[in-house]
Amino acid sequence: MLPADRFDKEGFLRDLDDWEPSVAQQIAAGEGIELTQAHWELLNLLRDYYAEFDSSPAMRALVKYCAVKLGKEKGRSIYLMSLFPGSPAKLGSKIAGLPKPENCL
Amino acid sequence: MVLHTLNASPNSAAFRDCLAAIAPGDALLLLGDGVYCVRGATPACEAILRCGAQLYALDKDARAAGIIATPDTVTITDMTGFVALTARYPRQLAWY
């Protein structure tokens, strides 16, 4: 377990280098999510996206990226919402250890 | 038809790019540092006069810069005139 002071008041990592799979589980638990294999598939996809494009995706781009990488069935916002309810791109990025969004979209 | 607004001196990349993008029927409003483009008898002024656009300069910025005498084809305008130009031309592009 990473100590509480390694997170800001909204639960984002202060230092992205702290991220590792066990930390992802810790953040997810704080959001009331138990990570399954389907969650991990998406978290890895988000990290791949970040590595490929040096940015976190907006929802529209994430849906399309899922369709390209994981197939049409999973490239739908309803599927993403079922795993990361509310705002999948934001919540997924938080758990995947990507930068805190600037609230722009 | 485009209203181009140029806020950059005649030595700038913005000036060059703006002149190249102007089409017949467009208008060009000079404001801020752009007003130096209509200092009479300069190469920049001659280039501007040949560009094919209706030419305007914002009064307050021209006065501040010491641009008092401008060629006849350049209309000195105030804020009300600026608004009227944006109403007449359906789109504006800012160069700076």
């Binding site: 996206y49 490929e52 494009f53 040096d54 940015s55 995706p57 907006a58 929802m59 529209r60 781009a61 399309k64 990226y65 390209v68 722009c104 979209l105 | 038809m1 485009v2 990349a13 913005a14 060059r16 790019d17 190249a20 993008a21 102007i22 089409a23 359906p90 789109r91 504006q92 592009l93 800012a94 160069w95 700076y96």
Partner: protein, 124 residues
């Protein structure tokens, strides 16, 4: 928030270098936001803006995002078209086959026509 799609077409004109000021990134953020809200949006790289299309960008050591990589994500945002000022690209020896995203190279007359085809022009 949601934004009504009104059928208006916007062109974002990018004229500044990618790493020399904050304007260039602002322009790309604006374009990506328009696309994320499903508005019709095109991008034109003009003048020094064509330097966005340099191959082999690696900005890790200057601590800002890699613009070349960011451009490569634009197809995922359904940006309609990317246009490039051919004369400026030639001046910087930027070739069509070498850019991080595919763009249509336009001459001066085509650029003038493009400007008149859009409802709004956002110049950065």
């Amino acid at each position: 928030m949601s934004v009504t799609v009104t059928g208006k077409k916007t062109l974002v004109v990018i004229r500044h270098t990618p790493y020399g000021s904050s304007l260039a990134r602002a322009a790309l953020d604006a374009a990506m936001a328009m696309a994320a809200f499903e508005q019709a949006i095109d991008i034109l790289f003009l003048g020094d803006g064509v330097l966005h299309l340099m191959p082999d960008q690696d900005s890790a050591a200057i601590g800002v995002n890699n613009v070349g990589k960011l451009l490569a994500s634009l197809p995922l945002y359904d940006i309609d078209s990317v246009y490039v000022d051919a004369a400026s690209a030639a001046k910087y020896r930027i070739a069509t086959y070498d850019t991080p995203i595919a763009g249509q190279f336009l001459d001066q007359a085509q650029i003038q026509q493009l400007l008149s085809r859009n409802d709004h022009l956002l110049g950065f």
